[in-house]
Symmetry: C2
Subunit: 146 residues, 2 copies
């Protein structure tokens, strides 16, 4: 194996190690796969499967299949930010998003607050919350004043 074992479990910090990790996890490094990974790392923001397909110049079905394979081995995660298509991003720091259920405004929850939330939920339920798959829902300051 040309890749250190620890890359088989940790998320990849950059495109180069992500491509190595793809191989290390037993997936072939095909052209479409390489392009999908590059699209995710190049975008700097979560992308829908369709955006990935366009950026990677591959079929949407291949984008979906690759995103699913990459997610299965822990290199990619997807999230839902509203009622539209899922968004995909390289696995990494887990970010808690707060979204307004009226106007759609979104913000990122400060890490300290996210930690408080996780602690409260964990204590009460036994679950270990990640808070990164669906947003926390509520009203933004503007919409709350009405």
């Amino acid at each position: 194996m040309t890749v250190p074992a620890h890359t088989a479990l940790a998320p990849a910090p950059d495109l180069h190690s992500a491509l190595a990790a793809v191989r290390a996890r037993g997936l072939r490094l095909s052209g479409a796969r390489r392009a999908v990974v590059a699209a995710l790392y190049g975008a700097g923001r979560p992308l829908s499967a369709d955006e990935v397909a366009r950026a990677a110049c591959c079929d949407p079905a291949s984008a979906y299949r690759n995103l699913e394979a990459l997610e299965r081995v822990g290199l990619v995660r997807h999230m839902h930010v509203g009622h539209s298509a899922a968004l995909y991003a390289p696995a990494g720091a887990r970010t808690a998003i707060v979204a307004c259920e009226r106007c759609g405004a979104r913000t990122i929850l400060a890490p300290r607050a996210a930690a408080q939330v996780r602690a409260a939920v964990r204590l009460a339920s036994g679950f270990i919350p990640h808070l990164d798959h669906f947003p926390l829902t509520g009203l933004c300051p503007g919409c709350a004043n009405r």
Copy 2:
């Protein structure tokens, strides 16, 4: 108006007042509408639009249109509990669900903990969280031990 004004703003506690509230909010009390409301109040659990249509013996399109109309006037709310169809329930107490992202196990977050979560999020973000539209995501105790 035969219905006290306050029913025009509060969620309805039972089927009877819900039907009155439908009228009070300017919606006609058609057969399908009545049946949709009855289905939601009779089920005792959130239902998908398809389940509502079957229970109400109406077309799915009518179920969707009625659920949307009822939601618009504040009598119904819908939530997402995973990747499947949305679930609809009478508007009422807001319940925070915690869901395991691996096995799908779900539990209801204790009100005290939910209040702590809301306070932390509100303080950090200014948003007033409801936590009742999407579940809080993470790992259940069983899946966490692996």
